[in-house]
């Protein structure tokens, strides 16, 4: 009986945080981590530079940085800050940890991942997603009235991290590994879009758009050299 009752709940019935608490999550996180934001932005800029001129070592470095960021966000944001407020997050946090392990494993072992050097639609979308997550997503806080104190920074918070990861995986080869690594970031973006929609946040469509862009890039025919 208890199981069947779950189907009668609306998504909004399961959301336990209010818009003000959600906004304060990021403000408090930023306060607690300052000045780690500067380091995170610097590392993100370095990763973007690597994506623009990718080589085997550089690609591996980007993937390792992403894996570390997924582990860091799992512990500092999801587990310590968000899970006490929203009990469903306690079940999501291990999946974030799993993503960190998958990135470290599938993304670096043996040949790891390869990234394209020649411009294409796929590469443009991938780099565009990464650049958005690094430079523009933090500014969404300004546009939504939260202020820079509540900015979501790549490497420190889940949404820009998932979007940046989608960007890298959107253009990575081999395809099978990329698809395997893409699933969890995409799922996070979908749940984040739902959360933001339920909170009536104007930027709710952004994570959805990121998933759509990543999928479009992945389905776009790869340049022959990378196949």
């Amino acid at each position: 009986m208890a199981t069947s009752v779950w189907w009668t709940y609306r998504p909004e019935d399961l959301l336990m945080v209010s818009p003000r608490v959600y906004a304060r999550l990021f403000e408090l996180h930023n306060q607690a981590l300052w000045p780690a934001q500067l380091l995170a932005l610097a590392l993100g800029a370095m990763a973007l530079a690597v994506l623009l001129r990718p080589g085997p070592r550089g690609t591996r470095l980007v993937v390792v940085l992403l894996a570390v960021a997924w582990a860091f966000v799992t512990w500092t944001f999801l587990w310590q800050r968000y899970a006490p407020l929203q009990w469903g997050i306690a079940h999501v946090a291990p999946l974030f940890g799993l993503q960190a392990l998958l990135l470290a494993g599938l993304g670096t072992l043996r040949a790891g991942l390869r990234l394209p050097r020649r411009w294409s639609v796929r590469r443009g979308l991938g780099i565009g997603l990464f650049a958005y997550a690094l430079a523009l997503h933090p500014l969404v806080a300004l546009a939504t009235g939260r202020g820079l104190a509540g900015a979501e920074i790549l490497g420190l918070t889940p949404d820009p991290l998932a979007i940046a990861t989608l960007g890298v995986l959107a253009m990575a080869e081999p395809a099978r590994r990329a698809w395997a690594l893409l699933a969890l970031p995409a799922l996070w973006c979908l749940q984040s879009a739902l959360t933001l929609y339920l909170l009536r946040e104007p930027g709710a469509w952004l994570p959805l758009l990121a998933v759509a862009a990543a999928l479009a890039a992945r389905w776009w025919p790869a340049p022959a050299a990378l196949r």
Binding site: D13, L15, S18, V21, L28, R81, L85
Partner: protein
């Protein structure tokens, strides 16, 4: 080095906080004075007279350890008590809400004032006592006034526990809850079979399913009823926000839709109290002010429901 505030200063600080909330809520009243006590209704079979508007804590008090929001919640509770409120309802399901309430009760020195209503929420009856004790510690109260089985989860085992606790004086009253109109058949079954002090269910001006069987049964069995989701978690208020109140709402003393809806709910003869949740001091004032005369009679209640249905 910073020294802890001396006891007198801390007390004065707390009085100031309460006074500020009271002054905001009741501009004409002095500090801690309550110009007009809210109407009360006795929880049947217990002799406990409860103000007919209480305070819920779902989402609104789930603020973690954010010092800014903890103080905001403390101000809400200060205003609630200053306006004559007593019953606060929470659950271990509500994230950090219990700890928030405990924080405010301590800051306001209001442990004696509150009617503490909480729930047990686990499918394992064996885990019930430990969960209840954890909840009690979070609230910082010597015992709960009311413990309820949340959403009827594992109700048979938990009610045995609660009955034993009541017999031992470890809880004063016991009950069961549901929400969103779910499990009314099961709730009716328990109400007929077990001696309860209170049930909690969803009842408001548009969610009236409980009127058919549960509310009459509660009266028949002498069981109190706490109405949750009075505003459908703001949805009802949002739906009505751009509609004008009917002119005759003034005759009921309803100046807002929230008061209109609350007066409808608490005027049902079976309802002990409604428990709206809020993050805002002015809404606490507005809600508690609904628990005053005049309240609608049955004919007026029909008129109110008809009016909202037509909007």
């Amino acid at each position: 080095m910073a020294q802890p505030l001396p006891a007198l200063s801390r007390r004065r600080l707390l009085r100031g906080l309460l006074a500020a909330a009271a002054a905001t809520a009741l501009p004409s009243a002095g500090p801690l004075a309550r110009a007009a006590e809210p109407l009360t209704r006795v929880l049947p079979g217990t002799g406990e007279a409860l103000p007919r508007v209480g305070l819920g804590s779902w989402i609104t008090f789930n603020v973690g350890n954010d010092p800014l929001l903890l103080e905001a919640c403390t101000a809400v509770m200060a205003a609630f008590f200053a306006a004559g409120g007593r019953l606060i309802d929470s659950s271990p399901m509500y994230g950090s809400s219990q700890a928030t309430i405990g924080h405010a009760l301590k800051r306001l020195q209001a442990v004696e004032r509150v009617y503490a209503a909480d729930k047990v929420w686990t499918s394992s009856p064996a885990e019930g006592p430990a969960q209840i004790e954890a909840s009690r510690r979070a609230w910082g109260v010597p015992r709960f006034d009311l413990l309820q089985v949340h959403n009827l989860r594992g109700w048979e085992g938990h009610l045995e526990t609660l009955q034993a606790m009541k017999a031992a004086g470890e809880v004063r009253h016991l009950g069961i809850t549901t929400s969103h109109g779910r499990r009314h058949d099961e709730m009716e079954h328990v109400m007929r079979r077990v001696e309860l002090d209170s049930v909690q269910l969803t009842y408001n001006i548009v969610d009236r399913e409980a009127e058919r069987r549960l509310l009459p049964l509660a009266r028949e069995r002498g069981i109190g009823v706490i109405a949750n989701r009075p505003f459908q978690r703001k949805r009802l208020i949002r739906r009505l926000a751009d509609k004008p109140l009917p002119p005759w709402a003034a005759e009921l003393g309803a100046a807002t839709w929230a008061q209109f809806i609350l007066k409808f709910i608490i005027s049902h003869p079976a309802i002990t109290c409604a428990i709206p949740a809020t993050t805002r001091v002015e809404h606490v004032r507005e809600n508690l002010a609904a628990a005053r005369e005049p309240l609608p009679d049955e004919a007026m209640r029909r008129c109110m429901a008809e009016h909202v249905r037509g909007l």
